[in-house]
Amino acid sequence: MDLMEKLTILSAAARYDAACTSSGVKRGPAAGGIGAAADMGCCHSFSADGRCISLLKVLMTNACAYDCRYCVNRRSNDVPRAAFTPRELAELTIGFYRRNYIEGLFLSSAVLRDPDYTVERMVETLRILRYEYHFNGYIHAKAIPGADPALLEIMGRLCDRMSVNIELPSEAGLNLLAPDKSRQAIFGPMGQIRDGITENRDAVARYRHAPRFVPAGQATQMIIGATPETDLQILRLSQGLYDRYRLKRVFYSAYVPVVENTLLPALDTKPPLLREHRLYQADWLLRFYGFRAEELLDEENTQLDIRLDPKCCWALRHPDFFPVDVQTADYRTLLRVPGVGVRSAKRIVSVRRTGFLRFEDLKKLGVVLKRAQYFLLCSGRAAPGLRMGEDTARRALLRLEAPSGCAGEQMSFFAPCER
């Protein structure tokens, strides 16, 4: 089989993995080697679905010993199988990297023979890259559940980010659709990686040249819409992962029906893209805006509002919190205003020291006034010509989200990529 065919099969098999970022680690060039890593990552292209392409995202092989119902690579599915040899994959990565096509390698794999053998082949690829090509670019590797902890340890020293996919947001879903994977097999390696990172932080603090272990942290991914979990359950799970496992990112992947199975949604089901988008928005609120899952949803409202973004929803439910005065409110309060982001909140705090801010100035700072005007005061006054009231605000905000009145099919979703 030639390289073109292998690449086609093995990148097609990897495309449902959402975790394709190259951020979180900064590293200069290696002497006599190639590559560096930029802290905020770098998008090299955007595919036809609008997602960022940052890494060469492939499977080592798609020949799998497992039989997970939702997965294209499951044993019982009759598809062409292929496998890279470690050397040809390393060479391909370097060839792409030199031409500035990619930021590095994202390497996952189906379970070939058994988890240990699979990880050994992945480790060999990374070893060739790091020690023969002296490649200093970004490497993201998937931990294969069930592999020997000693092998994961070696892998963690060769790559920048590791991830273990949760796959489904609940154990019931996992038992139903992925009978070969257990909750324990997923959280075991996740805990191991977390402890490795903590230990390594101590070592690096003590010895400057201590080898780094998973310096860009770990991530995970779960499939949305294949099983009946609520958004509240999903966000609680993510919050727990950020708190307890100190994950850098949780990726959500709208379920794309690729396999016919009575346990799964029908093949003509549309992937719940808008729901995925809302979950990402809520995820951002958890990580950067100081929100807790319980503030966004509760037992009465277990699903995020599809029509309105979660921050607007929260603001409309808390009229007592608003309006907020831009001149005096602290940074954390500003962050809770719809239409104000991390950058614009920082700019407001810096610019207001030089003079009073007017509404037209806020626009220059990157505030989205269309949303923020209902919640802000400048010099103690509301935006000129604005009619207040909870219901006017709600109706106006709804109109912003769906200008054509439809359910937002035409909306452009941000790509789940960098930062």
Binding site: M1, M4, L7, T8, S11, G28, I34, C43, H44, S45, F46, S47, A48, D49, G50, R51, C52, I53, S54, L56, T61, A63, C64, A65, V72, R75, N77, D78, V79, P80, R81, A82, G95, R98, R99, N100, Y101, L112, R113, P145, A147, D148, K181, S182, A185, A254, V256, P257, V258, S350, V351, R353, T354, G355, D361, K364, S412, F413, A415, C417
Partner: protein, 288 residues
């Protein structure tokens, strides 16, 4: 008053110097090549190292390093009446001190801030969108930026391709970034013609294009989102969007098919050993 200067950054700083020495308020700036006909009196400004270093140091000392960087980067932008805007900013800075870079309410500051933000954004985009081709071990690429981004992206490419010899040509401004022996410099007034790709180079282009096509999920197609992140003006510089790099798939395992490859084994692809992996016991491995 119109100032005629050599078009370089140090030349511009000399204009700032002259405007203070002669107590003048120049409205227009041009280089000798730009033979614009104006009725205003003109002054020839010569680039004198003593003059521009004095202005350059004063930006740091009397305003702030942030302001100095804003002026330096502002000079690389494609902002309208660039020199005039920067001169106004510098004057305001001398009066107001370091806080000038925070005064975004002031139109004179905001104008430069906005242009520099656009420049830095474009530089960030080009970090990803530059495509190199290999010719006999050397790399070459072309870009077509609105702003003069080369000096901003040079450190990035220097870090990742430190041992390589490469050339990056800016078609808009006819400048080139040349990197060899671990050092880089920017050459002005360059003309450059890309060579024809050899067999190996073509193969890499085709592999990359195939990867690009395969990795997209058909059910999620979203042209608006793609254009937002990767505007069309970049497309003719991107390898993966050139039709000539797209080879027709030879097998039904094509990435263009909507979901799973058609479900039949392709003749000629031997089954990978261990495909059904009878030896693996998931129940066992879960415990490890």
């Amino acid at each position: 008053m119109t100032y005629v200067y050599d078009g370089t950054f140090s030349g511009f700083l000399c204009c700032v110097y002259e405007s203070y020495v002669n107590r003048e308020d120049p409205l227009f700036f041009r280089t000798p090549e730009e033979g614009e006909l104006t009725l205003l009196p003109e002054r020839q400004v010569f680039t004198d190292p003593a003059h521009w270093t004095r202005v350059y140091d004063s930006l740091d000392r009397r305003i702030s390093p942030t302001a100095r960087r804003l002026v330096e980067d502002g000079f690389l932008t494609c902002m309208e009446e660039r020199e005039r805007a920067l001169l106004e900013l510098i004057r305001l800075g001398y009066e107001a001190g370091p806080s000038v870079t925070r005064r975004l309410q002031d139109e004179r500051v905001y104008r430069v801030f906005r242009a520099v933000r656009a420049l830095r954004n474009e530089a960030e985009q080009y970090r990803g969108f530059v495509r190199f081709s290999e010719f006999d071990g050397m790399l070459a690429g072309e870009i077509e930026p609105k702003n003069r981004v080369l000096s901003l992206i040079a450190p990035f490419f220097h870090a990742r391709l430190c041992g390589e010899t490469f050339l990056l040509f800016d078609r808009t401004h006819r400048e080139a970034l040349l990197h060899s022996g671990g050092r880089w410099r920017i050459l002005a007034d360059v003309s450059f013609q890309m060579e024809r790709a050899d067999e190996r180079e073509r193969q890499y282009r085709q592999l990359w294009t195939r990867f690009y096509d395969t990795v997209a999920i058909a059910q999620r197609e979203n042209p608006v989102c793609r254009r937002t992140h990767m505007p069309k003006r970049f497309w003719d510089q991107l390898t993966e969007l050139q039709p000539e790099n797209r080879v027709t798939p030879s097998s039904p395992a094509s990435g263009r098919s909507p979901a799973v490859p058609a479900g039949r084994s392709v003749p000629g692809i031997p089954p990978v050993p261990g495909r059904t992996a009878p030896g693996s016991d998931p129940g066992n491995s879960a415990g490890g």
